[in-house]
Amino acid sequence: MAYKKRAFMFGYSKSSSFVAQQLSYENLYLTLVLSDDEAYKKAQDDGYIDIKKIDITNDEELKELEVKEDDYLVCVLDDNHYNVFLTLSLHALFPKTVIIALSDSMHTTQKLKIAGAKHIIDLYEVSVNRLYNIINKPVTTKLIERLFSPNEEFSFKEIVIPKGSPIDGIMVDNFNFEEYKVIMVGMIDKRLSNKFLFVTSGVENHFDSGDTIVCIGYHEDLDRFEKFVNRLC
């Protein structure tokens, strides 16, 4: 089976096992990199095949992992000190590879950022905003709950515009999303940068092939819209 991408996940605890499990369902080759026996045994018991047991503080052993530029490095070690150290080591060894790290304190988040993690998921930042929404924005809370519920009939969708798509070359403001009953949240305009631009940011963009757009809508509407975008003229 040809995998789209490869991910190295450093750490395998009770909480991060969910991520490993979900990743294994995707078209993604997952390698678990562990340094302690207990986690190693648990991962083996859970049925993972590619598990590497190395000393994560040793650069030579990290080098042997043969990480490529388009791989993902996921740092989810329970110990913050090790997680930051590992991020720094990985960034030094593989500067162009995307590092995603989990943080459980605001101080660690800052350190991970300095250490070179591209995406840092702060365990509490999201929850704290949710607490705020619960007391101040009940409708927002409802929408977010429904967007992230697996059973809900509407969600987000990421669509890459192919060459020759009917929307290729059209100004964003000129396209009527209403016709497809979807809401476009934002996009990555390859011409400008790799940064996600919200549609509300006020920048005037046009759709080009290779751009990625993110929409919210009912599943069937999103599928209909995706089909339309992928229809070649």
Binding site: E26, I100, H119, L123, S127, V128, L143, F196, I216
Partner: protein, 518 residues
């Protein structure tokens, strides 16, 4: 016949909604520190007391205008009398006891004795009348009796009434009461020395010292000397008398030092407790506030992001002393208590305030206990809890939590999106963390009535750089995602918009107020 009438009257009082409502209001004004209007009553009473004492002092050298005399004699005294009677009235309920005793007698088929049933109530009222607070209230009314001028001095008892209305004096007395044993021991020692020294100086000096002619002179001298005041009007002339003086002065210094150290130590012991009491009392005066249980990472971050917005409408309960100190250093409002204890949550003004309680401790068991604790006290307390996994979240909901937040599960989902759908991750993370670029906000049309009656398509959201996501019909209505744009906006609708913070604020300001023109 009379017994029947009295019984009928008791039943009438017991069942009369109006009578009970009035009694409850009076009780709240007099006794309920959480009642929001009590502070105004307290201030009124303090002003009356201060004005009464000021009149007493002023009239020593001046003649009072008749209206001032009238005010002092009738108004102040009348208010104090009404207050005195009201306190006796609300102390307990005669009608309730009568009805209860009558019910029991009927149930047991035994004869009902009106006197037996009333006796307990009256006894309790008499006990109340003999309490120091009630006696002060009574003595504060007496100055109104003008034929006996000496009674004017009882105006000073009105000052003692301040004990009821000023919390700091009340707390000072309470702190001293905790060292009752030590203070009484020192008082007895003081009296012992004063009597012994007074008698000794009288015995030794009575013959040779013209200033000491009686035992009272001896006792007076001993007290003035031991207190280190030493007026100098009486001084010993014999060797024996001077030796006694030296001993009395030394013991006086020792006793004063003891008393000072006892008072200081009792205050330092009670200081943090007093601070906590003050914080709770202060927050209880608010109509709406939050109780944050636990000062961990989550509470820390929550307050770091939103404390300014919440102003002082929150209080943290933390049982770890070190964490309490940390929170205090950060300038947060924190008390050192265990939120899982029933008496801790019951200190808050559950009856009159809208409370949102956050169970955010690091322990799932503690959080569940806190939820149960809060819900057992009142179902109206809105509880938001933190849980580590789905099974705990389910238990939290069973315990009565209105919302459950699972930080690790949320973070894992986002982590997963970051790997599988990296573009979408950026959008989702910004929305979930409420970044200023992609804030989701609600516009309540009841506050922005200029939009009422318009069709959704008539509002150019794009022009304001906003994204219209959906609408909720009324506070408890159904949320409709991306509705038909021909829909007409109603008074109670809530619009859900996304955009920059500045765009949302601008939009809200623009549509604030009532629509007169459109």
């Amino acid at each position: 016949m009379l017994k029947k009438l009295i019984l009928k009257f008791a039943f009438f009082l017991h069942t009369s909604k109006r009578y009970n409502r009035i009694k409850d209001i009076v009780k709240d004004f007099l006794l309920n520190p959480d009642y929001k209007y009590k502070k105004y009553f307290d201030i009124f009473m303090i002003l009356l007391i201060v004005s009464s004492v000021a009149i007493l002092v002023y009239e020593v050298k001046h003649t009072m205008p008749p209206w001032v005399d009238f005010f002092d004699l009738y108004v102040v005294t009348l208010v104090f009398t009404i207050e005195y009677v009201a306190r006796v009235w609300v102390h307990n309920s005669w009608s309730k006891e009568i009805v209860k005793a009558h019910g029991e007698a009927n149930f047991l088929k035994k004869p009902f004795s009106l006197w037996e049933a009333s006796r307990g109530v009256f006894k309790s009222k008499i006990f109340y009348l003999l309490t120091p607070a009630a006696l002060i209230d009574l003595l504060a009314i007496l100055p109104a009796y003008r034929p006996l001028r000496v009674l004017r001095i009882f105006v000073l008892f009105r000052v003692f009434k301040l004990l009821r209305y000023t919390k700091s004096i009340h707390q000072f007395v309470e702190v001293l009461a905790t060292k009752k044993f030590e203070l009484f021991t020192l008082l007895f020692l003081l009296l012992f020395i004063v009597f012994t020294a007074g008698i000794a100086i009288y015995v030794f000096e009575e013959k040779g010292n013209p200033q000491i002619t009686s035992l009272f002179d001896g006792l007076y001298w001993a007290l003035i000397t031991i207190s280190t005041v030493g007026y100098g009007d009486i001084s010993p002339v014999t060797i024996e008398g001077r030796v006694i003086s030296m001993l009395v002065i030394i013991s006086g210094i020792a006793i004063i030092s003891f008393v000072t150290s006892v008072i200081v130590s009792s205050f330092s012991e009670k200081l943090s407790e007093l601070k906590d009491i003050r914080l709770v009392e202060e927050i209880n005066k608010r109509d709406e506030f939050m109780i944050l249980c636990g000062y961990g990472q989550m509470t820390r971050m929550f307050l770091k992001n939103y404390a300014q917005e919440f102003k002082n409408n929150y209080i943290i309960i933390e049982k770890d002393k070190n964490k309490v100190e940390d929170a205090f250093k950060e300038g947060y409002r924190v008390i050192h208590e265990d939120a899982s204890r029933h008496d801790v949550i019951s200190k808050f003004n559950i009856e009159y305030s809208t409370i949102t309680l956050f169970a955010l401790t690091g322990s799932d068991i503690s959080n569940i206990y806190i939820i149960l604790n809060a819900k057992a006290l009142s179902k109206d307390i809105k509880v938001i809890a933190r849980a580590t996994n789905e099974s705990i979240a389910y238990k939290c909901r069973l315990a009565g939590a209105n919302h459950v937040v699972r930080p690790r599960i949320l973070a894992n989902k986002i982590l997963l999106t970051a790997i599988i759908q990296p573009v979408m991750y950026q959008a989702i993370y910004a929305i979930l963390t409420g970044k200023h670029l992609a804030q989701l906000d609600e516009v309540m049309l009841s506050e922005h009535q200029k939009m009422v009656g318009l069709k959704i398509e008539e509002i150019d959201f794009k022009h304001y750089k906003l994204l219209f996501i959906g609408i909720q019909r009324g506070v408890k209505g159904e949320f409709v995602f991306n509705p038909d744009k021909r829909r007409i906006l109603n008074d109670k609708d809530i619009l859900l918009l996304m955009g920059r913070e500045a765009s949302i604020l601008y939009f809200k300001n623009l549509f604030q107020g009532i629509n007169y023109g459109i």
